[in-house]
């Protein structure tokens, strides 16, 4: 069954051609900016900028949505939670104990944007960068190789695990199990039929993997590992990083002056 293992989408855009390190710097700056502000307008603008990058890079938006939609769900939950628990500000609606205030809404919305923009930024990088380049980039930025390798294996094998779950589910369905029926306790029991085989598969796959790694001279203690196809920082990358730093400075100054920051209390 065709299970796509990759996020990467081939392309020739400006963003595609950037050095992976430049893209990682971009994500890092977005991370700082996203905690600098908490106003949904400011965070929304950053979010829109990321979408613009995705569009200019000609990424298939359907795929982008597929990979990052989970963050939108988290965001919605954030909006609801913040709205319920923040009780300051002007009350918009009131049902008994529940008060919905304008400040709660704004904070929740801001928090939601924060989660989504980070998720989208990471996915945009994953979709425009070959995994190999990303790993090389991380390693060249002195991230320890074992950490990089765990990240890389995750990217490679999480989709494969999805495939395992589908197969196990099907194998139990043909034995008359209907996952969508029954009460909570019954459903929990059903998950045992899914979880049992899944755990034994994960154990087996990870054992096989570690043997295959050892057979290929993988040695986390080896410091002189080389990387084939090292990227080079070009003028384009320097310019890109420069522009980003400029944005970062502007952002920090704005927030120091009090723009884009809503007091929590």
């Amino acid at each position: 069954m065709p299970v796509s293992y990759d996020y990467y989408v081939k392309g020739q855009s400006f963003f595609h051609k950037l050095d992976p390190r430049a893209k990682l710097v971009w994500v890092f700056i977005l991370l700082i900016l996203s905690v600098t502000f908490n106003h949904p307008l400011y965070l929304g603008i950053i979010f829109a900028a990321i979408l613009l990058v995705a569009i200019l890079s000609k990424l298939p938006l359907k795929r982008l949505w597929l990979f990052s939609k989970a963050s939108i769900y988290f965001s919605i939950i954030a909006v609801i939670l913040w709205s319920i628990f923040v009780r300051h500000g002007n009350i918009l609606v009131e049902f008994g104990m529940l008060k919905l205030t304008d400040r709660g809404m704004l904070l929740g919305l801001g928090f939601g944007f924060r989660i989504s923009l980070l998720m989208f930024a990471v996915v945009v990088v994953l979709m425009t960068t070959k995994q190999k380049d990303l790993i090389t980039g991380l390693a060249m930025m002195k991230v320890p190789y074992p950490v990089v390798f765990i990240l890389a294996s995750g990217l490679r094998f999480i989709p494969a695990l999805t495939g395992e779950i589908i197969t196990i589910r099907e194998a139990q369905e043909v034995r008359g199990l209907e996952f969508s029926k029954g009460g909570i306790i019954e459903r929990l029991k059903k998950f045992y039929a899914l979880g049992g085989p899944l755990i034994s598969r994960i154990l087996k796959i990870s054992t096989e993997l570690s043997l295959a790694m050892d057979a290929r001279a993988y040695d986390p203690a080896f410091k002189k590992r080389t990387f084939y196809g090292r990227p080079n920082l070009t003028g384009r990358d320097i310019m890109f990083i420069g522009v980003n730093i400029a944005f970062l400075v502007i952002g920090l100054v704005l927030s120091w002056m009090g723009y884009g920051v809503i007091p929590y209390l």
Partner: protein, 584 residues
């Protein structure tokens, strides 16, 4: 020690952690540079264990066991050298291509090993080109592993070790999961490594026909000990002995054994290849001038395809996979077929030809994109998977995907319970199906600790317990040794005789020839041939197009069609036809 000896094993015994039985016992083995050694033996004989002691995975990666004796590889005592040191010189390819490909692309995977060795970029580049060329995957650098066929994936796994320039390459059942042509591709590559690079190869394999093609020496393991060793001719001529311990010799050797005691053929070594067998038989035929009329075979009873009521019917069935991101892949194209009560069908085709997709459409796990499936004349689209499960049982390839209970009994009860059978009924059914699959007395065993063959039977039993009339079994013998395969297939044959309609998916053509009454060949999602087994296996050219190859014995008969019926399916049939033709 002569410098020519690259592997030297002395009095090696090994016991795994938490076990008592020795997995290897008193192994003594020397392998010379450039030698190709085939290792055969039944499941549990210690073949994989032996491989892992050679490349140091035992004792370095698999720890806690008890290793006695000594293993020296290229002068390195494996106990005293680290894994990365050994891995520079000794590569190992594993059975499952999925769990040994790390790279997201072919290129990434091939450079992983030289990167780990810390080689300079120019050197890696050179090795990448060389390794891909050696396995004939040049130009595949940017492909994703999932775009490769099974044979290509295994060739990639080989390339990913060649890039380390190993002096010794160990392959542990590299072709078990592959279709016949995929198997050939891999062995073609190995032959090339032997001839052009004089590489030392250790190959664990069930397929003795392919082994005899390239091995200088065969080592037979049983219960952890070397029980027989010698050149392929010597070893594979011991047909009876090998069969007794559960190793299948090449069919031509089996034929030689049957003919050994006849007046026409009293040679002591047996032919191992189609070419050899054909030449020798031709000599006999020409000398003895057989009766003009070609011998005929009387098809044994019950080999006719079922002709009862139609149980499953596919009408203009199309299936198109559409991923969430919108990529489409046509998996089945306009399939039309009828499966009748009493059929015993082999569904065959290359890796990715749509066999499993078709089977899943029969049981409702997948629903046709176009066209329909009828089950006992009723449109399946109105039935749930559970409804269909009462009529058609579907047994997945890997029992690990379904077994979750603490006891065999609970595992088997799971299906009937879901279908709402009564307690009394279930008790009776458990007894009945355990008897059918030959696992009486296993009720309270924990299936987790049983062998692969037993687990596969539990999986079949748990499907049988739902009392379906039709049984679909996906690759019931993949990765099993011959003895276990035969016992699995006898079980299916038995069920067929009891009135069940059986459909099985497989890559093993010997098994198809021996058991199936009807064959459906799929190629790229279309039915290429559909007919009685005997007819299908004579369509050599069409089969080749589908990347399939009839059994060795059928190929021999085909070459000798002047004297023998070309539709011979088993060694026994070939023997009978020869005797008949020579006027015995």
């Amino acid at each position: 020690m002569s410098s020519d000896v690259v592997i030297e094993i002395k009095d090696l015994s090994y016991t795994y952690r938490l076990t008592e039985k020795e997995a290897l016992k008193d192994i003594n083995l020397e392998v010379r540079r450039g030698e190709v050694v085939g290792i055969v033996g039944p499941t549990g004989a210690g073949k994989t264990t032996l491989c892992m002691t050679i490349n140091g995975l035992i004792p370095h990666s698999i720890t806690g066991g008890k290793l006695e004796g000594e293993v020296k590889v290229l002068g390195m005592n494996t106990k005293e050298h680290t894994l990365p040191e050994i891995a520079r010189k000794v590569g190992m390819v594993f059975q499952d291509p999925e769990s040994q490909i790390f790279g997201l692309t072919v290129l990434e995977d091939v450079v992983f090993l030289p990167e780990n060795l810390g080689l300079p970029e120019e050197e890696i580049e050179r090795r990448l080109k060389w390794a891909l060329n050696a396995v004939r995957l040049n130009g595949y650098e940017e492909r994703f592993p999932y775009q490769l066929s099974g044979g290509e994936k295994q060739r990639l796994a080989i390339a990913s070790l060649l890039s380390g320039l190993p002096e010794i390459l160990i392959l542990d059942e590299p072709t078990s999961e592959l279709d016949p042509i995929g198997k050939m591709e891999v062995f073609d590559v190995l032959e090339r490594l032997k001839k052009e690079m004089k590489m030392t190869l250790i190959i664990v394999e069930h397929n003795t026909e392919q082994l005899s093609r390239i091995c200088d020496r065969i080592v037979v393991l049983d219960k952890g000990q070397i029980v027989l060793a010698g050149n392929p001719k010597e070893v594979f001529s011991e047909v009876r002995f090998l069969q007794r311990i559960g190793v299948r010799p090449p069919q031509t050797a089996e034929l030689g054994e049957l003919l050994k005691n006849t007046e026409y053929f009293n040679e002591y070594d047996h032919p191992l290849t189609v070419k050899d067998a054909v030449q020798r038989l031709l000599r006999i035929f020409q000398k003895r001038r057989p009766k003009k009329a070609r011998a005929t075979i009387s098809p044994s009873g019950g080999q006719k395809p079922g002709n009862g009521e139609t149980v499953i019917e596919a009408e203009n069935l199309w299936y198109i996979y559409e991923s969430e991101s919108g990529e489409r892949k046509i998996a089945l194209k306009n399939i039309n077929l009828k499966i009748r009560r009493g059929d015993f069908i082999a569904l065959i085709g290359h890796n990715g030809s749509g066999k499993t997709t078709l089977a899943k459409n029969f049981v409702g796990l997948l629903r046709p994109t176009k066209g329909k499936v009828l089950i006992y004349g009723e449109d399946a689209s109105t039935m749930s998977v559970k409804d269909i499960a009462r009529k058609i049982g579907y047994c997945f390839q890997n029992p690990d995907h379904q077994i979750f209970s603490k006891t065999v009994k609970e595992e088997i009860m799971f299906g009937p319970k879901n279908l709402g059978f009564s307690e009394d009924q279930i008790e009776q059914i458990v007894k009945k199906v355990l008897k059918i699959v030959g696992l009486e007395g296993y009720e309270d065993e924990d299936p987790f600790f049983l062998g692969k063959g037993e687990r596969q039977k539990i999986a079949v039993a748990s499907i049988l317990a739902m009392n379906p009339e039709v049984l679909i079994v996906d690759e019931p013998t993949t990765g099993m040794d011959w003895k276990t395969s035969i016992s699995m297939m006898r079980l299916l044959k038995n069920l067929n005789e009891m009135g069940h309609t059986i459909i099985f998916i497989t890559h093993d053509m010997d098994i198809v020839a021996e058991y199936a009454k009807r064959i459906i060949v799929l190629k790229e999602g279309e039915i290429l041939i559909d007919g009685p087994t005997r007819e299908v296996f004579t369509k050599m050219d069409l089969l080749r197009k589908a990347f399939l190859l009839p059994p060795q014995i059928t190929r021999v008969a085909y070459e000798l069609d002047e004297y023998l019926p070309p539709d011979i399916l088993t060694t026994k049939e070939a023997y009978e036809a020869i005797v008949q033709s020579l006027g015995g």
